[in-house]
Amino acid sequence: MQTDATFSDDGAPGRYGPQRLSVELANICNLHCSYCFRSEENLYNSRAEFFPVELLRRVIGEARDVANVTKINFTGGEPTLHPDFAATLETVAGAGMTSSFVTNGWHFERVWPAIVANRHSISHVAFSLDGITRETHDRWRGNGSFDRLVRAFSRCYMSDLPFALKVTVRRDLMDQLEQIAMFAARLGAAALNFVHVMPTSTAVADESSLSLDEQRIVEEEVAILARIFKMSIGVDVGYYNIDEENAPCSPLAGTSMNVDYRGRLSLCCNLSGFRGADEEADVVADLNVEPFASAFAKLKELASLQLQNRKAALAALRAQGVKPDLFTGSPCLFCLQSFGKVPWRSAPEPELVSIRGRRQ
C-alpha cells in the first residue's frame, strides 16, 4: 500500500506541497454535522448548485498554465452529490492532473464505477470520521453513516486506492486519539489527519473547540502517535503557530487556492462560505467572467497582505511582551477573525483587522 506524506491539504512550514486547487463541486450536503463550517443556507436552503464541468475544464487548464497547478482536490458541500461526478474526474484526468476528494462516504458505492474508471489519475480519497464506532460516528453524521464509511474503506483497501481519514478533534474525541490511530491503521488508511475545530458559534466553541492548553495536549499526543505508527499522521494547519518568518499554510504560501461552487476564486476552502460569516473578503474574483491569470494575481496579493497582517500582529504582541491568544496564534482562527467570519465573537484589536471590509 502506497503512502504519501502530502495527503494533508495543508503543509507544515517549509513543505507546502505541490501547486493545487480545491474545487467545491456542490453547495449542498446530505448530512447535518452540527459543527460544520459551511453555511446552512448553502447546504440546505438554497437551490442545489453544482460546479459546471465546462467551467472546471477551463479553470483547471488555465490554473495549470498560469500557476503550475497539478492537483485538484474536490470538496463541497458533499462533492459526490455532483450529478456528473464521473465527468469531473475525467476532466482532471484529461488535463493530465491528479484528483482527490474529501467526502462523508455516504454515496461512495454510487460513485465507485467513476472512481474505478479514473483510478489512474486519483491520488487518494479522504474520508471524514467522527468516531470509531457506529454510535460515536453516527451521533454526528446520522444513522448508517459509519457502515457506509467502512464499506468505502473496504473498496479502497481491496483496490489499492490510498485513503486518508480526516478527524476534526472535538473535545469529546481528545482522549481517543490512540484508538482512532489504531482504527485507521488496522483498516489500512494511508494517512490520518487531525484538524482543530473552527468554531461557527459560541455554542460550537463552548461544546467542541479546544482551549490552547487542550490543543497543545492533542498536538503532543499526535506527535507521539506519528512516531509510533507507519502511516502518515499529523495535525492540519490550525494549530497554534507563532512563527513570524514562514507562511503557516499552503494558501498563504501561495501554493493552494480554492474555487467555490459558484466558480469564484478564494483564498482557502476553510474560509469559503463560512457559517455565520458576515463578510467574503477572501473571495477575489468570479472565474465565470474573469480569466484565471488576473484572478490569481489578486489572490497572491491577498495572501501576501494577510501574511503581512499576521506577522505584524504577532510582532506587535511580541514587542508588548504579550503572549498571543488562541485567536491570534492559530493561523486559521486569525483568518476567521480578520476576514469577518466570526461576528459572534467580541471585537478584536483594531490592528488585527486591516483586511476586514475589503470586498471584491
Partner: protein, 104 residues
C-alpha cells in the same frame, strides 16, 4: 491492518447453521463478480470472501440453513449436492472460528 482470505480448511466439526446469523459487528461489502469483503468491527480485520463464501454469507443473512444454502450453490454452479454441503459446512466453520457469526 490485515486481510484474511477465508480459505476452506479441513475440519471435523459438524456445523448446523440453523441458529447462526451474521454478527452485528460485521460489515459486508459486495464486489462485482460476486466476491465480497467483511470487516469485523471488533477486531478491525478484513476478510476476503470468494463467490462461494459470499453465497453462504448471503444465505445466513436470509436466515437459511446449511441445506438451503447448499441448494443455492448447486443451482448456481456445476457441483454435486454433497460437495456443496461440505463446502458450506467448512465455510461456516471458518466464519465461526473467526467469531463472525452470532446466535439468532
Amino acid at each position: 491492518m490485515g486481510q484474511t482470505a477465508l480459505r476452506i480448511t479441513r475440519t471435523d466439526k459438524i456445523m448446523n447453521s440453523n441458529n447462526l446469523i451474521p454478527g452485528k459487528h460485521v460489515v459486508v461489502t459486495d464486489f462485482d463478480g460476486g466476491e465480497g469483503i467483511l470487516v469485523d468491527l471488533n477486531t478491525k480485520k478484513y476478510f476476503q470472501l470468494n463467490e462461494t463464501a459470499m453465497v453462504v454469507w448471503k444465505g445466513l443473512e436470509q436466515g437459511k440453513n446449511v441445506g438451503q444454502i447448499a441448494d443455492d450453490i448447486v443451482a448456481r454452479y456445476e457441483v454435486a449436492l454433497d460437495n456443496a454441503t461440505r463446502s458450506v459446512e467448512r465455510i461456516l466453520d471458518n466464519f465461526q472460528n473467526y467469531k463472525l457469526l452470532t446466535a439468532k
